[in-house]
Symmetry: C2
Subunit: 213 residues, 2 copies
DNA sequence: CGAAGAATTGAGGTTAATCAACGAGGGTGG
DNA sequence: CCACCCTCGTTGATTAACCTCAATTCTTCG
């Protein structure tokens, strides 16, 4: 387990303890014995796997309410790392498994995750580079809290991941991701000047490019 | 729901009813309202999604003991079709959700599935064509019932899927899959003459080609 | 035996990866 | 405060992997 977990733990027995992490630190390492199940209170967490030669695949980017650290055997099969500042609730594994209300909460979340993984498999197996990036941006838009505004017009999103992280999420190289962004910009699908992650997106133009609709 | 389900149903109340399907028929269609949860007794089931333009991605091939037809909302998000002759147990959704023992069985299976989907995402996002096919064959070997024999030597496996189905599973074209098989054959990793799916595989030579170890 | 579906193989094209250079922004230390 | 460095992003040139199109063979089944 990480250093941060030990330091930041605030006991709150029976409910789970609060834990905080700074951006881009490892929360769970692959192969580690599974002691806790985590629930995201605020922030984002990336779940990934590393091949022995260094290739990485990120398969999920989780937000508030999501659960991670669940495994079939007693050992974590993937890496979890913070993308932003993160606040988590950590539940002791054995304890959590005996609570039926908790179990059904976990089961519900797993169903949502499986759904998302199915969609991501389609993206990885069957979509072109531009389709992948377009799908990614649409995902960002749909994940926003203020989901109300402008369902079909233009919206502003903040891209928190680096080009390299997006590449590892979409099964591309960072250069290809960058080129796809540039093309979408040229085509008037999205607009940005500074490299601060903020971009204005035309949903109407974006949606047809995702391959899904 | 499919025609077969209605015809073949054999009531066995409280436990779930038995249902049989011939090979390569649709068990669940995408978008269909979710009424039942299925458990495989014998045979194999493929879970896939179709893009509007016809591109298909198969993300799981399930065997005995596996569960499918579980969704977060009340609607199926993917297609389930039989690969072989299949015998299933169908559980009424509402009923199943009220049984806590059933819920925890489902949860356990979902965890295993998520694990498999993670591995498959790595394959789709980061592996070469030959690595994908090698991984696929290794998967077949590990899924066999008679898993005892020859842990490191040569084994015989039966490839049930067509090249086209394998391609849709591995995110490739059927030609690329065929070429990968041919290459593995040339390199002495596997051997076969007839196109009946039976092949002799050297696990020792196969494993290093999967990219995972 | 003929037809249809599946697998193989070849030739050529396209997409994305690789290799490489450069610019912008942010932080650190002199 | 400024120079430097480092990371991140962008873009160009080239290469490699995989896809597409096409022809041929194998297998099964009526």
């Amino acid at each position: 387990m990480s250093q941060y977990l030990e330091k930041a733990g605030v006991e709150s027995p029976g409910v789970g303890r609060m834990v905080d992490f700074p951006p881009r630190v490892t929360i769970i390492d692959e192969g580690e014995p599974a002691r806790s199940i985590f629930r995201i209170v605020t922030g984002n967490v990336m779940i990934s796997k590393l091949l022995p030669d260094g290739r990485r695949q990120i398969f999920e980017v989780l937000g508030p309410g999501s659960i991670f650290g669940v495994t079939p055997n007693g050992r974590h099969d993937s890496v979890a790392e913070s993308l932003t500042d993160v606040r988590l609730t950590a539940f002791e594994k054995g304890l959590a498994e005996r609570s039926s209300s908790f179990t059904s909460l976990v089961a519900d979340r797993l169903k949502v995750q499986i759904c998302a993984l199915h969609g991501h498999a389609v993206l990885l197996g069957r979509k072109s580079a531009v389709e992948r990036v377009a799908s990614y941006i649409l995902e960002l838009i749909e994940a926003r809290e203020d989901t109300a505004l402008a369902p079909e017009g233009s919206v502003t999103v903040r891209v928190l991941m680096t080009r390299s992280e997006i590449a590892d999420y979409l099964g591309l190289t960072l250069e290809t991701v960058s080129r796809a962004f540039s093309q979408l910009k040229r085509d008037g699908v999205l607009a940005y000047e500074r490299h601060d992650g903020l971009m204005r997106v035309s949903i109407r133009r974006l949606r047809p490019l995702t391959g899904t609709y």
